[in-house]
Amino acid sequence: MSDPRIDLLLAMADDELVIGHRHSQWTGVAPHLEEDLAFSSIAQDEVGHAVVWYGLASELTGKDPDALGLGRQPDQYRNAILVERPNRDWGYTVARHYLYDTADDVRLVALADSAWRPVADATGALRREERYHLLHARTWLDRLAHGPVDARRKLGEGLVAAFGEALGLFEPLPAEGDLVADGVLPVPHAELLQRWLDMIAADFDALGLERVLEEGATMADPEFVPTSSGEMEAPATLSGPHVERRDRGWVPVGEFTGRGGRHGQHSEDFAEVWQEMTGTYRAHPGATW
């Protein structure tokens, strides 16, 4: 019987490593130089955070952090499917960046109360560093949501594509019950999901995404509508398994069915990112820098 804390650490570490790798794929090809630097810097942070969690997992498993991060087979990775998807376009990138970093924040806030001290301690530095990621993600969400028309449309499409899979970040862990009972995970993922849904519903409200759709539909020249043109996908159109739209927000309904990243089930896109991410390590096992 393996330690259920390893599942928690690997879920977080693998999320951070894979999203960090995807972010790094903007290096050199982002829409402008500042975003090259921003995504490269955020990627570096995320990989650094993965190392923190792999370091703790290393203490429990006795395995080298590099071997944990880069030496496993694809079905042994526990990241959510959301983070393994290709960057697609800027709209999807911003949508996923926002959904992921808000979800990570909800998770870190909760874990600050973990009964397992090493995890609770680590959240302090991580949240301090994540402030910049949240600021960056919200700034871009705001910017795209306020136009021009093409930006709104792409952000809307990105949110629609990413939202359902973002729910997978809250898929219960295999030994969720034990982790909650021991206080390692202070609240179950179902509760974390509700907290996150409330957080993003408030952000979407603040951006006026709802009003936008109603007003914009009647506008002849949508380009200069103060908030948006109506071509933005409204939050109401965002849907996914296990959530229901209610009172300008969402509530989780029912249990997670099926198995996703937390059980090692991945999409066809994972093979590609796994090969690229682990290629050097697999080609030169045990090499030192």
């Binding site: 500042e34 921003a38 942070d45 190392v51 530095a125 600021l135």
Partner: protein, 163 residues
């Protein structure tokens, strides 16, 4: 007196050495001055040093560990050096010492206390000419702990320790 024993260094001796170990990415400043030293314990010939990284993803962590070991091993009375990076302390720019701040400014990096903000609303004191007529450029600078700004006074870009 029948034998000469080499006495182990005091924690203060060790800290004095750490105050002179340069940061790999900002060599004019030491890791001691950056506030990275959390605790020093000396037990006989065994020296344990607890450090906190400025940022978790700092790529210089391994280099810093080696530099600290290399600096402490030659100390008289030291047999073994153990460097740990701890996570129960959160590094904060306020940990940077007064001497460290002065050296950062001399190196061209605005130290904490220069007026930097998370949002980057400008007005950070330029370490090169002292002007406050400055604007934020990017919160994502050359290392995780540094942002970039621009001085309209002397028309130079400069770096800032992130708040």
């Amino acid at each position: 007196m029948t034998s000469r024993t080499v006495t182990a260094p005091s924690p203060e001796d060790v800290r004095a050495v750490l105050d002179a170990v340069p940061d790999p990415e900002m060599p004019p400043v030491s890791i001691g001055e950056l506030g990275m030293v959390v605790d020093v314990r000396v037990d006989g010939g065994r020296v344990e040093v607890d450090l906190v990284p400025t940022f978790s993803g700092c790529p210089a962590i391994a280099v810093i560990r080696e530099d600290v070991e290399r600096a402490l091993r030659p100390l008289a009375g030291v047999d073994k050096v153990e460097v740990r990076f701890v996570r129960d302390v959160v590094w904060d720019p306020e940990r940077i010492t007064f001497a460290g701040r002065r050296k950062l400014a001399e190196f061209g990096i605005a130290p904490p206390g220069s007026g930097q903000t998370l949002l980057g609303i400008g007005g950070v004191k330029c370490p090169l000419c002292g002007s406050r007529d400055t604007v934020a450029d990017s919160p994502f600078g050359p290392t995780p702990c540094r942002a970039t700004n621009y001085c309209r006074g002397c028309r130079n870009p400069f770096e800032v320790i992130k708040p």
